[in-house]
């Protein structure tokens, strides 16, 4: 197999495919709806196509890198390697779906120009940091992501939204500043900032001064853990769910928290190298923090009545599976962690799409209002159920595969307590998701829904622009599980990354 496209600057093209629409939309007028939607969709489709070419190329053994010197010794570098593509593909595909959903959800509302412009910039920053070839470029996009997301979080302009936005900024800006400090320290300590499979830290230097290297790691971890919503710095995430549903989908599945989890992967594997990280005790700290976060998030999700808030705490918990997996030494666990980056994204976006559908169509926002909603919106609740079962870890939905690999990997590593955490978390997942499903299917419907719009959708239960994306991602979640054995499935790709030694 040969690469179809061997153009070195392909990663740059992927970044530009959403940057250009983002800027274009900002320059268009608020009323230029048709042009805005066209630009948005063109960019989103172009990104998927470009990423497709890159996937095929990397699968065939090619590599893509685009570099530009900023300072002597510091580069702006975009690299499309196997690990980067895992994240980029997720973002590109889910962005396309979310764009359609967001058009259905928000066109007709206020400030659409601002919203869709920053929506594109947000994905630009995400794909940029996914393909960052070094820590300098990574930090650049990591910070840019904060600013691109803020207007989306406060989109509604309500006092709660402003308050949530303020908290989001305080958390992310302080951590971003710490990350910059850590990045410079890393360069001073090791001489370079380029990401490399297996890490760039000299094992002997780290063995000679484990304390200093651990401190360095912890500074970088403090910078990365806020976006990854690790306990105890997860507090911005449940508050930020005041944003409109497409934004929550983006925050929780595509962009911000994923950027944080990806930062942890880069930190553990591409900078320190997992062996060094284990030797100095850093990986252990991450694993324990992740385990605590998994349990904490699940417990907090238990008694929520607000559906989106429940989903937010579920994200806090599920995201730490990624951190836990990649912090372990065994390849199986690492595959589990990597693939959960994708699986969690697909499943969680489904759940948020469904929550948005319920709120948008019926005004249902609380679980106590969901009685019998499955009879009114059967397709929506079917999608919701598939994703929720996946989150619990029931085969054949994607989440099962993640948990299986994580569990097996933990046993191989001789860490039975990790398996205990996984089991406990699955039970808790069941304890907060199953009652929701039961209410939706078995309880009696109310006489009238909180705010069912006058809009009639014919025989279809909701606006198709919202419903189709939800069904598509639910199918993806199912397919990723069923076809997990294919080399082009997320699992197949994660195995390729670890198998090739690209992690």
């Amino acid at each position: 197999m040969t690469p179809l496209v061997a153009w070195e600057a392909l990663p740059l093209a992927v970044v530009l495919s959403s940057l250009v629409p983002g800027i274009g939309i900002m320059l268009l007028g608020e009323e230029a709806q048709r042009a805005r939607i066209t630009l948005n969709l063109l960019g989103a489709v172009a990104k998927v196509v470009l990423v497709g070419f890159m996937l095929q190329g990397v699968g065939a053994g090619a590599s893509y890198a685009w570099r530009f010197t900023v300072l002597p010794g510091l580069e702006f570098s975009l690299v499309g390697d196997a690990l980067a593509l895992l994240f980029v593909t997720l973002s590109a595909v889910l962005w396309l779906v979310t764009t359609v959903y967001a058009i259905g959800y928000l066109e007709g509302g206020e400030n659409r120009r601002r919203f869709f412009s920053f929506f594109s910039l947000c994905v630009t920053a995400t794909t940029g940091l996914a393909m960052a070839g070094d820590l300098f470029t990574f930090v650049l996009f990591y910070e840019a992501l904060t600013w691109a997301t803020y207007p989306l979080v406060v989109h509604r302009g309500t006092p709660e939204a402003i308050q949530a936005g303020r908290r989001y900024l305080v958390y992310t800006l302080v951590s971003g500043t710490v990350l910059v400090l850590g990045a410079v320290w890393f360069q001073v300590e090791t001489g370079g900032v380029a990401f490399q499979p297996g890490g760039v830290v000299d094992p002997e230097a780290a063995a000679a001064a484990p304390g200093r290297y651990l401190a360095l790691f912890l500074v970088l971890l403090a910078g990365a853990s806020v976006k990854a919503a690790l306990f105890p710095v997860h507090g911005w995430l449940p508050v930020a769910m005041v944003a409109p549903a497409p934004v929550s989908a983006l925050l929780h599945a595509v962009a911000v928290v994923k950027a944080g989890a990806f930062a942890l992967i880069r930190l553990l594997h591409s900078l320190f190298g997992i062996e060094v990280a284990s030797d100095i005790g850093a990986a252990g700290i991450v694993a324990v923090l992740a385990a605590v976060t998994i349990l904490y998030g699940s417990i907090r999700a238990l008694n929520q009545d607000d559906l989106k808030r429940l989903l937010a705490f579920s994200t806090v918990s599920q995201l730490s599976y990624v951190a836990l997996g990649v912090a372990l030494l065994t390849p199986t666990a690492q595959i589990g962690g990597l693939v959960h980056l994708v699986h969690q994204g697909i499943m969680k976006i489904t759940l948020f799409f469904c929550a948005g559908l319920l709120a948008h169509t019926l005004g249902v926002k609380k679980i106590s209002q969901m009685g019998g909603v499955a009879r009114r919106m059967p397709l929506t609740m079917m999608a919701f159920t598939v994703a929720a079962l996946g989150m619990i870890g029931i085969p054949p939905v994607a989440g099962f595969l993640s948990k299986w690999y994580l569990g097996v990997g933990a046993m191989e590593a001789g860490l039975p307590w990790v398996v205990g955490v996984l089991l406990a978390s699955s039970l808790l997942n069941a304890a907060y998701f199953l009652p929701v499903i039961r209410t939706a299917y078995l309880d009696a419907s109310p006489d009238r829904w909180p705010s069912e719009g006058d809009a009639r959708f014919g025989r279809i239960e909701a606006d198709v622009r919202l419903l189709v994306p939800a069904l598509v991602v639910a199918l993806l979640a199912l397919a990723s599980g069923v076809f997990g054995g294919s080399p082009w499935s997320p699992l197949g790709w994660a195995e390729l990354i670890v198998g090739r030694g690209d992690l």
């Binding site: 010197t69 930090v139 600013w147 302009g157 710490v178 410079v184």
Partner: protein, 497 residues
Amino acid sequence: MSPGLDSIHWMTLVVLGPLVASMVALAGTPRTLRLGLALGVGSVLVGVGGLWLTFGGGDPVLRNPLGGWGAPLGIDLRLDGLALVMLSMTALVGAAISLYSTAYFGDISFLPLRDSPAGRGARFFAPLWLLLWSALNGIYLSGDLFNLYVLLEILGLGAAALVTLAVTPKATVAGMRYLLVSLVGSLAFLMGVALLYVVAGTLSLELLAEEGLQGPLPAAALALMTVGMAAKTAIFPLHAWLPPAHAAAPAPGSAVLSALVVKGSFYIIVRLWVDVYGVGPGPAVFVLGLLGAGAILWGSILALRQRSLKRLVAYSTVAQLGYLFVMFPLLVSGDGGGWNVDAWTGGFYHALSHGVAKAAMFLAAGSMSYAVARDDLSAISGIAHRLPMTFFAFGLGGLSLAGIPPSGGFVAKWLLLRAALADGGWGWALLLTLGGLLTLAYVLMVLRYAIDRTDPPTTFRPVPRRMEWTAMGLALLSVLLGFRAVEITELLAGALP
């Protein structure tokens, strides 16, 4: 470039061009005002372009006696990478400010030029600013201390006059205070220069550097000159005159003062400490660093407490100047007692991006005040929705100041942090980090007012497009500086002795 045009011609052009233009503008008819600005901007841009073409490779310093008289008698001009970078920054910022000013002072052909307050600004801004520009370019290129003194006096007088253009009692008081500080500062400088002449018998920077100045008298001279320049640069704790003065001037004047003028006296301090004296590690540079730390912290805290937009931006200048002084202790921390190149390039990259970003912020703030005819923060409530481009210009400039990537401020912060950490200077590193967060805090405070729609202003005057575009252009430039720093940092590094 045509043969026969040497860098001396271009150097002469960038100094004399704005001076001649200033005299043209002084004639004071709408036509000559515009002609003067065009002439000034044109001559500086052409001159700086020529310098970029003729400079490069080989010997970084060119000495060119003007009128055939060399040191120690005549006027010496010297050009190195640092001077070229400062000249270029001043040229770009100056061009944007000049363009902005033509819109800000309105269609001058309809103004009663001599009588109204607006008329006074419109009448005298251009000639004063062009005179300042000539003096600034002269300071960058000057090779001896006496010339520097003369140019400093012109700079100080012109700057104080800019403040009083606003013709309010506040502005007059602020302007007079500025003038006083400026004169005392120049006097201290002159005493230092005289002392040095007694000791060394020359005022050429080059010859003085070769002297290898040692002992109590040269040290006293340096102290006098530094105190004088520090007062003019408004370094903490000599900063109190700056915020009222910079805030009182008309918007393009504020931008000139905050972005450019304070850099002139700072530049002289650097020339003295690094080029002439070559001051090594010791308590002296540490004290300069501490003053910088005080400026960063105190300036930022005061900025956070302001309720007037322009005063907030002015206090931000006080804080940002602190970074330039933190450069000194970092600068002497190089391997084996040498200079730390990262500190040097980082410090001046900060000077550069601060110049661009601060001008963008003051111009944007000027557009906001222009629109609502008031200057308090609550008056700009919701302005982001009326003037989105101006809002973005202010925001981008502010984020660049705070060192948010991608921006020139981020590159500068990275370099300064690297300089600090390479030497284990954790105190300085934490100071720089904290300073960035404080900057974010006050920039965000303004942005929050600007997006808040609860109490929209009642009056709204349409803002000329040109005012919006020029501020945005500078803001974008401050972002672009974060993408490519190779050439500029090489020029800067080449200027380190």
